[in-house]
Structure formats: C-alpha cells, structure tokens
C-alpha cells in the first residue's frame, strides 16, 4: 500500500504525519508533534565539552525530527517537508507571455524585482498561467539556500530521507483538495495558524497564488481578534485589487488553536459575507479534530508522494541534486537496469558468442564425421593410444627397413673380386665382417703375387687394388679400398709378394 510521510518544521515544533491512500480517500496512519527544545546551558566544563561535540552532529530541530519520526514509527522514512512560511517568500506578478524555452530566464529576471533576497543565493520555483490576453500570471516562491541547507541537514540528521521541500500553501491546498472540500469556486483562501503565533494567509484565484503573507498574533485574545480581522481585511482588499475585482467567498482555516472560535469570530467580523471553514476528516473518527487541524500542513505534505495534486501548483524548493529518488521509482529504475543489463548480456551471448560456439561444434563434428568414415575406431581411441601405437609400429618398420637396406649381396662381391683377378695373383683368404652396428662392412683380402720381379709384382697388385676401388659394386659397399700391407716372402726357393688389402 502506498504511504507518504510529511514533516512540517515550524519555529517551535515539528509535526509529522504518515498517510495512506485508500479507496475512500486519504487516511492518517499516524501523526505526532514534538516541541523544538533549545537545550539548557551546560553545568560544568565536562558537560560543556559533551554538549559541544553533540551539537556538531545534531541540532534541536534534528532531535525533534528524530523523535517525531520515532513516534510515528517512520524512522529513516522518505519524507516531504516544509519549513515555517516566514522563511519562504512568495510573490505574484504578471508579465508578457514568452516562449516556453525563454520562460525560466524571463521569470527569473522578473522575480529579482519582487523577491526580497538575492536570487543567486536562493532556490526559486514558480507556477505560471498564461491567460487569453497573452499575459502570464506568475507566482514565484523562493527560499534562501543557507536556510534550505539548514532545514535539509536537520532533516537528514533526524534520519529522514528528503524527497521534496515545498511551501506550506501547496501542502494546505493539497490537503483541502484531497478532502474534497474545495468546490468549483474560482477563488480560495487559506489561513494557517501556528503554535508560535504566526498566521500564514494564502489567497489564490484559478490556481494562481496572488497573495501569500504572514503576520503575528500576540496571544492577547482581544488584541489578536481585531488584529486578525484587520490583517485579513487588508489582505482581502489587496487580493481584490490584484485580481481586478475577484471576491473571496470561502476561506479555510487550519493549524493550532480553537479554529471554530476563530471561524465564528471572523464570519461575524466580515458580516457573514465570507464563509470560514475548517478541515473535515470524515474517515478519522478516533482522532480529535483539533489535533488533525494542527497536523493539516504535514498531512498535505504526506499526500504528495501519494500522487495527490495541489490546486496551487507543485512548487519544488529542493534542488534536483539534493532530492532522494522515490523508493518505488528508484527500485523500478534499478529493476529495469537489472533486466536491461541481463537482456544485453543474454543478447551478446546469443547473438555473438553462441553462433561462434555452434560453428566450432559443427566444425569439430564435421571433422569427426568425415574421419569416422575412414577410421571407424577413431572416436573410441585416444591420442595417447594412437601415439603409443605409432611409436610401437615405427621401430619395427625401421628395423625391417634397416635389415633390407644393409642386407647386401655377398655373391656379387665375390663375383666382382673374381672377375678382374690377374693370373699372377692367388688369394689366400677373404673375410667380410660387420664394421659397425649401422650395417657397415669391412673386407680383408690376403694373397700372393708371383711374376718374378718384386717391382712388377707390386705394380700388378697395385693395379688390381685400383681396379677393385673403381669397381662399382665394391666401391658401393667399401668406399675406401687400399693396399694395407705388402711384403716379400720366399717360399720353396721362390720369392713372391705377399699382400693384404683392406676395404671399409
């Protein structure tokens, strides 16, 4: 259920109301008021020290705000607030209608003539209406920045989260409008009596506030009655002049004090030409009417977040950057933000990354599908398995290839040796052995040569060795064939040459 909290910070008290919106209209959920207690001077130095340190963090107004929020069980609530109308200046003026884009600048410039403090040091808002004569009727409300800042800090120190600060007349107009007390009359008057003696008078016509002023009562009954009547009469006359002859027929009273008594007195004083009415709360039977009247401003403030419009315009005295976002709006924004980011990431995943993954999956499936036709067992085998099988097969093949490569043809070696053998040479022995593990061979030939002359025998042997080295079959197997040893020997009185040939 929607709930709003309004806080009115007066000069001597703080009033808070929490209200809810029901089908039968707005209802007060809780209300409370707390006096603003100015603390007594410290007793001794220690107490002074403590008080000073405390005053740095909180103020009497802040303490009252905290207490009043605790009373209505709305500590830390989002609130709409108003400060005493004596701190706010409201002025009406007319000016030629200007295009919407230039309106703010023109009104701001015009307002400098009416607002009693520098606009550069103020926060200002306005409510303008353009009539048929191309003339804008403008109500400007301004508050000094330092005053606003103090009020804002008090509210924050009092645990409130401030949604908006608005002038009192907006809240009062909203409250009477929500209570359906404003008839279709063009003119309306609102008088708010405050417990500090301040009386706030607002007269409006057609939704434009023409007059918003304050005067003080002295709490002397007779003196106050004549003063009230005089001030009101002067205000009504001023309003009559400003509006060009519009007459107030009904004025609403709100605030502290005996309002019925005041209403009777004023109706009598104005010879019953003006009707004075107090707020009527048909739904609030359990709460005394006096209490409700005194809380009407805060009630009107509490109705703002419940989407009750003020007939006197929605004046905003809190700069945008100092406003707390409404919880519902904030949560809605954050929710939308969450959903938007989620959708963005889902889209990025689905549009960019998912097709990429799908493409890779298809690529892999395509590779495997074509490979499975050629190698059906591929899917069931791991890389390690295949590698180990390859590693097992390779040495076997290498072993067989090596065997075939270095097998050789010994018959061709012997044939080559025999073919060119001179008749003067007799071979005693031939041995072919393995030279190394790589399959290299070594040949050793021993023999005798007899010609009759050592020189000739040596020449015959050398020529034969040369012929052997030039032989294709032998040179392929034994790249270097050389005469290793040559010696002369006598055998049965015959001298001959013994030789040894090595090939490797």
């Amino acid at each position: 259920m929607l709930k709003g909290v309004g806080i009115y910070i007066g000069r001597n008290e703080v009033i808070a109301v929490s209200a809810i919106r029901t089908s039968s209209g707005p209802q007060v959920k809780a209300f409370a008021s707390e006096p603003i207690q100015i603390e007594a001077p410290p007793q001794d130095q220690d107490e002074e020290g403590k008080t000073n340190s405390k005053s740095k963090t909180t103020t009497p107004e802040a303490q009252a705000i905290r207490r009043v929020l605790e009373k209505i069980k709305e500590k830390g609530a989002y609130v709409t607030a108003a400060v005493s109308p004596s701190l706010v200046a409201t002025r009406h003026f007319i000016m030629p209608a200007v295009p919407k884009g230039d309106e703010i600048g023109a009104i701001r410039h015009e307002a400098t003539r009416y607002i009693p403090f520098r606009l550069a040091d103020s926060i200002m808002d306005y409510h303008a209406q353009t009539n048929l004569k191309n003339v804008s009727s403008v109500t400007v409300t301004a508050i000094r920045k330092d005053v606003l800042q103090v009020g804002l800090e008090d509210l924050r120190l009092g645990s409130a989260k401030v949604l908006m600060i608005e002038p009192v007349y907006c809240a009062v107009g909203r409250a009477f409008s929500a209570l359906r007390m404003l008839a279709s009359a063009k003119t309306q008057g609102f008088v708010v009596l405050q417990s500090d003696g301040n009386v706030h008078v607002t007269f409006a016509s057609g939704g434009i506030v023409y007059l918003s002023r304050d005067f003080l009562l002295s709490w002397n009954s007779d003196e106050d009655k004549s003063r009230f009547t005089d001030e009101l009469k002067a205000s009504i006359d001023f309003f009559f002049k400003l509006t060009g002859g519009e007459v107030l027929t009904q004025i609403f009273l709100a605030g502290a004090g005996d309002l019925k008594l005041w209403a009777e007195h004023l109706e009598h004083a104005f010879n019953y030409t003006i009707r004075f009415d107090c707020a009527s709360f048909p739904e609030e039977k359990k709460i005394p009417p006096e209490a409700l009247h005194s809380a009407l401003v805060a009630f009107g403030l509490a109705l703002r977040p419940l989407n009750y419009a003020s007939p006197l315009g929605e004046i905003k005295l809190l700069p945008k950057e100092d406003r707390c976002a409404e919880p519902l709006k904030k949560m809605t924004f954050l929710g939308v933000e969450c959903v938007a980011i989620f959708i963005l990431f889902v889209l990025v995943r689905l549009v960019i990354f998912q097709p990429m993954l799908k493409q890779l999956e298809n690529e892999n499936a395509g590779i495997l599908e074509s490979a499975n036709r050629d190698y059906p067992e591929l899917a069931s085998r791991s890389i390690e398995d295949l590698t180990s099988q390859s590693n097992a097969l390779r040495p076997r093949l290498e072993r067989l290839n090596k065997f075939i490569k270095y097998r050789g043809r010994p018959s061709s070696v012997l044939t080559s040796l025999g073919k060119g053998l001179p008749l003067s040479i007799a071979l005693e022995s031939i041995s072919v052995d393995e030279k190394n593990a790589e399959g290299g061979k070594k040949i050793n030939i021993k023999g005798l040569c007899f010609v009759g002359s050592a020189e000739k025998e040596t020449n015959v042997v050398s020529a034969w060795v040369k012929a052997l080295a030039a032989n294709k079959v032998l040179s392929a197997l034994f790249p270097e064939i050389k005469l290793d040893e040559v010696s002369r020997e006598k055998k049965q009185d015959m001298a001959m040459t013994r030789f040894s040939v090595v090939g490797e």
Binding site: R323, F345, N364, A371, L378, I383, S390, L393, L414
Partner: protein, 183 residues
C-alpha cells in the same frame, strides 16, 4: 578546505553505476566467461580430432608399410624348417658342411635367427650357394664371410682346390605368424 558534499543525486547515480558494474561483472562471469573456456575446449577438441586423424593416418600407413615389409619374413614356428632348407641348399650346392649352428635372440617384436655355417667347398659352389640364399625367402643377410684357401690338392672334381668357409647369416622371424601367411 571546503568539505566535500555528496548530494543525493550523486548517491543515486553511484548506486546505479555500482549496480550496473556489479551486474555487468556478475553476468560477465555467469554468461560470457564460460564461453571463453568452452571455446578453448572446443578448439582443443578440434585440434585433438585433427591430431587423431593425422595419427590414425600415420598408424594406418605404418601398418600398411609394415605388412608389406614383413611379407617375406617367416614366423618363429618356421625356424626348424628354415634351418633344414639352408642345409638342403648347401648340400645341393655341394658345400661340405661341417657345422650348422642356429642361434636365436629375441629383439622386440622379432626374433633374430643367426645361422653360423662352417664348411669346405670350392669357390664356385660357395658362390652358387650364396646366390641361392639371396633369392631365398625369408631374406637372409650375410653378416660375415670368411674364405681361406685350403692346401692346394687338385682333383678332377675340383681342379682349383677347396676353401675353408665360415659363414654367418641372419634373418628376422616374426614372433607370431601373420594371418593368411602360409607356414
């Protein structure tokens, strides 16, 4: 020094930005980051598939080559008949075989059978024997050969005399007979 004022709008903006950053981080880790690891996994799978295909091709090629290379070689069970065949060839080529010693040594998937022959024969008998051995299946490799001329005795059958021959031959035997190979 002016105190830094944090306005409500800034707080709201900070909350929105922090939430956005937090959500972006969370969704990145939940939705996007797994894609990278999944992509790496898929790429790895593709590489593995390609590697498996290459390895399968290699293995198949090796198997084919091995089948061809092993074709002429006999199985271990043929050892005794092989020695008999060598002896027969030697007798046929008139080699006077004094000793014929087979010796087997296991070597991986094969068994090396080394046959050492000591014989006496004329040169041409040896030559013919070697020629027959070279055409024999399974193939033999002559690892060493030694011929020493014996004292010269001319006979009618052997006018050039005999050689003392020491011959060492070896071949590989398959530990297991291949399918379809006749023993």
């Amino acid at each position: 020094m002016a105190a830094l004022r944090i306005r409500e709008q800034h707080k709201d903006l900070a909350i929105k930005i922090l939430l956005a950053v937090g959500l972006c981080t969370a969704f990145f880790y939940a939705l996007i980051r797994p894609v990278f690891s999944e992509s790496i996994l898929l790429r790895q799978q593709i590489q593995d598939s390609q590697a498996k295909i290459k390895l399968s091709k290699d293995v198949q090629q090796l198997k084919d080559e091995l089948q061809v290379a092993e074709q002429p070689f006999a199985a271990m069970s043929m050892r005794s008949s092989l020695v008999g065949r060598i002896s027969d060839i030697a007798n046929k080529k008139k080699l006077d075989v004094q000793t014929l010693t087979p010796k087997t040594t296991p070597e991986g998937e094969y068994v090396v059978i080394k046959v050492e022959i000591s014989a006496q024969a004329p040169f041409f008998s040896l030559l013919n024997f070697l020629k027959d051995m070279e055409t024999l299946e399974p193939p033999f490799s002559v690892s060493s050969l030694s011929l020493v001329q014996l004292p010269y005795v001319r006979t009618r059958e052997n006018p050039s005399g005999k050689q003392q021959i020491r011959l060492s031959m070896e071949t590989l035997l398959l530990k297991q007979a291949r399918k379809g190979k006749k023993i």
